[in-house]
């Protein structure tokens, strides 16, 4: 294989380089932060929810709750059946952002190459770190980071650390001994580690990929490791993904790619299922304002709007592309409202996103130049005031009181807005 060895040697196609990638994962992140900030919650089964209602979904469960069968995404009322004394806490995004920034600052003390994968996990690439840092050894540094998290955030904070030659194996290592583990995976112990796992323990292998692998007799991670590259590429994944998996499992880096913003969106489970059409539209308008604000903060404009609704009759969606990019809340809402005319009755959840994003550069469009300049000036002034005095200081009269229902949510899975 003509592989970039990244300093390692090709021995039986494995990357034998020193493991210099560290994955850090905060354990039950939001629940741990709540247990840190409210000491009387420590040792209790705690779940974090986005809304104080019984039919809301659980965002995170503490280890005490997980040990009794509670999982994320479970409905709160189901969790109560399992654990009657479970304490449900409404999410507090400002607090979680603070801990995220503390963790990021700690990680950046060790390398300039830090990538946060989400609000509760990140990767430090030590390949270009100073010799002094490298000489100390990543295991020692991993223990130091754990201690610093306890010293600088609080004693209830724990994290898992995984060390390996590439990101995928580092993440796998970080999931081996929760909570508070520290594990290293190299070409020496990869087989022992994989022997104790099932296919769906591997990040990126969910039920669909598992079925594909099973179809060719690959039933365990060890089978997966032993599989021929051509079989993975031509039969299992039918794409270059097969080659990537073959390399990923052997410690070669294939996941060091910056992700681009593909879309910006929000969703909302209605607080009541008997709202009038006008009330639902006002909530949709609120989502459009929120998405427009986030999009503009990224310096982006969009060309498409996608709207969906979950109703008793099932999932409904509609989308439309505009000929020119748009950026204002009103332009987004005008398209979304038009699309929503086709939505079914008895809606329970609504959502929308903007797609086909592009840099929001001022265009010289003769025919519309004056209107666009006016719109841009109004939006710019509004955004400036909202930046100075708080996100929803100036909103449409239509959504002036929807904020009491639609509160800010935790940006799980993305760190773009932190």
């Amino acid at each position: 294989m003509a592989a970039d060895t990244g300093g390692g040697q090709v021995v039986g196609e494995y990357n034998t380089a020193e493991p210099l990638v560290m994955h850090i994962d905060l354990n039950s992140c939001f629940a741990s932060i709540e247990q840190q900030s409210r000491p009387r919650l420590r040792g209790r089964p705690v779940v974090i929810v986005n809304r104080a209602t019984e039919h809301t979904g659980i965002v995170t469960a503490s280890y005490e709750a997980k040990a009794r069968g509670v999982t994320a995404l479970m409905k709160l009322r189901e969790a109560r059946k399992l654990v009657p004394d479970v304490v449900a806490i409404e999410s507090d995004p400002a607090k979680y952002r603070y801990v995220y920034r503390k963790l990021l600052a700690i990680m950046e003390d060790y390398s300039a190459h830090v990538t946060m994968k989400s609000i509760d996990e990140g990767v430090i690439d030590f390949k270009q770190a100073t010799e002094m840092i490298q000489r100390r050894g990543l295991v020692e540094i991993g223990h130091e980071i754990k201690q610093r998290l306890r010293d600088e955030v609080g004693v209830a904070m724990r994290c898992n650390v995984g060390i390996a030659p590439n990101r995928f194996l580092a993440k796998t290592a970080a999931s081996l001994h929760k909570p508070d583990g520290l594990d290293v995976i190299t070409h020496h112990n990869i087989r022992e580690v994989l022997a104790d796992l099932v296919l769906t323990d591997l990040t990126g292998i969910a039920s669909r990929n598992q079925a594909r692998l099973n179809a060719v007799g690959i039933d365990t991670p060890l089978d997966f490791l032993a599989a021929d590259e051509e079989v993975l590429r031509r039969i299992v994944f039918k794409s270059v993904d097969g080659t990537k998996w073959h390399r990923r499992l052997r410690g070669w880096e294939v996941d060091d790619v910056a992700s681009q913003v593909g879309r910006v969106g929000r969703q909302y489970v209605l607080e009541r299922f008997d709202l009038s059409r006008d009330d639902i539209l006002r909530r949709l308008h609120h989502l459009c304002e929120s998405v427009g604000w986030r999009m503009r903060k990224q310096g982006l404009a969009a060309r498409g709007v996608y709207v969906y609704a979950r109703a008793e009759s099932g999932y409904w969606h509609a989308s439309r592309m505009a000929s020119l990019p748009f950026f204002s809340n009103e332009a987004i809402y005008a398209l979304a409202r038009e699309l929503f005319r086709g939505a079914p009755e008895r809606v329970r959840e609504i959502g929308m996103h903007c797609y086909e994003l592009c840099d929001d550069v001022e265009t010289q469009l003769g025919l519309f130049a004056e209107e666009l300049a006016h719109e841009r000036a109004v939006v710019g002034a509004t955004d400036e005031i909202n930046t100075r005095f708080g996100e929803r200081t100036i909103v449409s009269a239509d959504t002036i009181d929807t904020g009491m229902y639609i509160s800010q949510k935790i940006p799980f899975g993305s760190t773009r807005y932190l």
């Binding site: 840190q36 409210r38 449900a88 409404e90 801990v99 609080g154 200081t393």
Partner: protein, 87 residues
């Protein structure tokens, strides 16, 4: 469900400024009704912004109840904004 009571009560606070995890440590506070609460642990201190105004939020406990104190860094005022003594 968490049974927190939301408050907006101005309180008198004794504070220690010293190096450490939070740098600024509320030690005890007196409520409007005269009751004094001695803080046994600061769970977390985190900043929150109201527009450009910085508010430092302290989640603290006296061992029997949890409290949230907010220090407005512009107006230099302390407020008790949450109390929770049961779940």
């Amino acid at each position: 469900m968490d049974d927190s009571v939301q408050l907006n009560e101005q309180v008198d606070v004794v504070v220690l400024f010293r190096p450490g995890r939070t740098m600024c440590e509320p030690v005890k506070f007196r409520r409007k009704n005269g009751r004094e609460v001695t803080i046994t642990e600061i769970g977390l201190r985190h900043p929150r912004t109201n527009g450009v105004r910085m508010v430092h939020v302290f989640d603290v406990t006296d061992g029997g109840a949890d409290y949230r104190l907010e220090f407005d860094a512009e107006q230099l005022t302390w407020r008790l904004t949450r109390e929770a003594d049961k779940w």
